[in-house]
């Protein structure tokens, strides 16, 4: 039995069921025989059926997942990789939490520089990358494309730090 495959198949089966349950309560439309739930219900049932097939195959397959992923490291995960995976995965959430408070210009160097430092341990290059990339992104998105980026604590200095 391949537990990982079984878990993923189960997740998709659950998603199919969620689609059916969530759309079952949609009110029918006058003069149209087919309610708005018809198409989502079809999608949900097909997903459940295919997930059941995937689960069936996972149960019958040997436990060793042959060819799971060629790029997967053959050696067991060490502490550094787990930390790296966690910080890369959490970085978007850190941006969401910090950007409204610190603003883009302070948050992005922390994230980019921090990630590069955790990955390489090279402080100088990480700081340079964080600052350089933030400046580049700010110029492209804020100054050229006119995207509204959060200023946070730097709001009072927005006029000084921009040319538009």
């Amino acid at each position: 039995m391949q537990l990982g495959q079984l878990g993923v198949a189960g997740g998709f089966g659950l998603l199919g069921a969620t689609i059916i349950v969530n759309t079952a309560g949609l009110a029918p439309v006058a003069h149209i025989e087919f309610g708005p739930a018809l198409f989502p219900t079809i999608v949900g049932w097909i997903m459940i059926a295919l997930a059941a097939l995937a689960a069936f195959d996972a149960v019958r397959s040997p436990a060793v997942e042959v060819g799971a992923s060629e790029e997967e490291p053959p050696e067991p995960l060490d502490r550094h990789r787990i930390i790296l995976f966690a910080v890369f995965g959490a970085a978007p959430l850190i941006y969401v939490a910090l950007a409204p408070v610190l603003g883009f210009l302070l948050t992005m160097p922390i994230i980019v520089g921090g990630l590069a430092f955790v990955a390489s341990g090279k402080l100088g290059r990480s700081i340079l990358l964080g600052l350089g990339l933030t400046a580049f992104l700010h110029i492209v998105f804020y100054q050229v494309l006119r995207v509204t980026l959060p200023w946070g604590v730097l709001t009072n200095y927005a006029g000084v730090l921009t040319w538009r």
Binding site: G4, V8, F12, L15, G16, I19, N22, T23, L26, A27, E33, F34, P36, L38, F39, P40, V43, G44, M47, L50, L53, A54, D57, G67, A68, S69, E71, E72, P73, L77, R81, L84, F85, V87, F88, G89, A91, P92, L93, Y95, V96, F104, M108, I111, V112, L115, A116, A119, S120, K122, R125, L129, L133, T134, L137, F141, L145, V147, T148, L149
Partner: protein
């Protein structure tokens, strides 16, 4: 012809030319960096395209796509790591040629053959698409429904691996497309009371999440740096290319034809076209056992084919709104973002714009020769960018790209969640391309399905009453049923053997 001239003039503005040059440089760089696919390169740049006018945005995106597919050849030749999956078929051959001291010829052939394939693809696209569109104008909602079904089932069939995993991926894409307002009654569905989901899941964060985040997370789990080879003098890249191409002109023709045809089949992209061309070329090669051991014969057809496939894939994408592969699905997404609905009517309502896009694609493939030749030596330095600097930069682009379009932090969270889903899917061999096609085609499929049902007053046989719709339905059914029958037959045979 008049409209072609007008289309050409549209591209001659400084803004468009600058954007095409920038997109070329970006596409060449991204395609040349191992592990960054052409799809990911396009997905990351969509937030910028979002803020541009339609002509520069679309011209830039098609230019970028053409360049990125070609540039995938470069790390293949220098590192034996294909820059994009489309270059994987002949990576050993180009690498062996470099090791033998024929690096200049190998890369020269890659540049010229890619440009030839791309130009052929673009010319076929410019000629065939409007003609097919005239026929497609006669299609009713039944034919459109079956065409969408055909595109989606073909995408699952050729996605590789286990067919039901492709099916699940497709259903996921359709499910994502359903979030938000129901198109018939306007009721909210799959929003779970979250106001951010009323307008549906934003296309760009989903795309960025599914194509870029898994790559970043994979790096985090295996943060190995690729050891760069010593920088070597490649010599004159065009030396020997002419005589080789004269000798292998049959392979050039074969690669172009196979690329356009395979590219036009929904789901079969540039990578499959390259593999098929490689196999055909090997079958008819005159070098016998030497094929696959670093001879130019193994390079020409496949590298021509993968670039021709990009043009081929644009035919069903623009005429029917059915993308040929995930890369074209993203390009079609840009069409929608710019308020254009791909389909036969685009050749009437936006004839100038669509011809401008085709013309940009043609020019991009011509530009590939000088830019590719100029930039090839620079790539030897480009591939030395350490991944510990590259991956945080990619993630920063993802975050700001997702945020910029929606201007909400919810889009960043959406990107992360879909990225994690895609990461798990790829880890367990679920293909991503069907999900993207489902996401793009979902609204069209649902709309044509419901419209057809309403029109037929519930009579499902009306779906197959017209000869063309019956033919498309039969083809869809064959594609659907074949893997199921093969699966059951395989299991039964396995049980008998045991």
């Amino acid at each position: 012809m008049e409209i072609i001239g007008q289309a050409f003039l549209q591209l001659l503005t400084p803004q468009v030319m600058l954007i095409m040059l920038g997109a070329s440089a970006y596409g060449l760089a991204m395609g040349a960096i191992p592990g960054l696919s052409a799809s990911m390169a396009v997905a990351l740049v969509i937030p910028i395209a979002f803020f541009l006018d339609p002509v520069p945005a679309l011209a830039g995106v098609v230019t970028l796509a053409a360049m990125a597919i070609f540039a995938g050849d470069l790390p293949g030749a220098l590192l034996r790591i294909p820059g994009t999956p489309a270059s994987a078929a002949y990576v050993d051959d180009s690498y062996l040629m470099v090791r033998k001291g024929q690096g200049g010829l190998a890369l020269g052939l890659c540049v010229i053959c890619s440009a030839i394939g791309g130009v052929v693809g673009a010319l076929v696209l410019m000629g065939a698409a409007p003609a097919i569109a005239r026929i497609a104008l006669q299609f009713s909602s039944y034919e459109k429904f079956w065409l969408a079904c055909l595109g989606l089932t073909a995408a699952v069939a050729v996605s590789g691996g286990k067919w039901y995993k492709g099916g699940i991926s497709l259903m996921l894409g359709l499910a994502i497309a359903q979030v938000g307002l129901d198109p018939v009654s306007g009721q909210l569905r799959l929003t779970f009371g979250n106001g951010n989901l009323v307008g549906g899941l934003a296309f760009i964060p989903v795309l960025i999440g599914m194509f870029a985040i898994p790559e970043v997370l994979r790096y985090a789990l295996a943060p190995r740096e690729i050891a760069p080879p010593p920088i070597q003098a490649l010599g004159n890249l065009l030396s020997g290319v002419g005589s080789t191409l004269r000798r292998l002109k049959g392979d050039v023709v074969q690669g172009s034809v196979v690329g356009v045809v395979i590219g036009a089949i929904p789901g079969a992209g540039a990578d499959i076209a390259a593999y098929i061309s490689y196999a055909i070329s090997k079958r008819f090669s005159k070098v016998g056992d030497q094929y696959g051991k670093g001879v130019p014969d193994a390079l020409v057809a496949a590298t021509t084919s993968n670039n021709a496939a990009v043009g081929g894939a644009m035919i069903p994408a623009t005429v029917f709104g059915i993308p040929g592969d995930s890369l074209t699905a993203i390009i079609i997404g840009v069409f929608f973002l710019k308020g254009l609905n791909p389909g036969p009517t685009i050749f009437i309502e936006n004839a100038l714009l669509i011809n401008t896009v085709f013309m940009a694609f043609l020019i991009a493939n011509i530009l590939m020769v000088p830019l590719g030749l100029l930039a090839t030596s620079a790539f030897q330095r480009m591939i030395r960018v350490p991944r510990y600097m590259l991956m945080p930069a990619v993630l920063a682009f993802c975050i700001i790209g997702a945020f910029a379009v929606e201007n909400t932090h919810f889009a960043v969270v959406t990107m992360l969640i879909l990225g994690l889903v895609a990461f798990v899917m790829e880890k367990y061999q679920y293909p991503l391309a069907p999900a993207i096609l489902g996401l793009v085609l979902g609204p069209m499929l649902e709309e044509t399905f419901l419209n057809s049902l309403i029109r037929a007053r519930g009579d499902v046989f009306a779906f197959v009453e017209r000869p063309l719709s019956m033919g498309l339905a039969a083809l869809t059914l064959v594609i659907c049923v074949t893997p199921v029958v093969m699966f059951i037959w395989g299991k039964a045979r396995g049980a008998r053997t045991a």
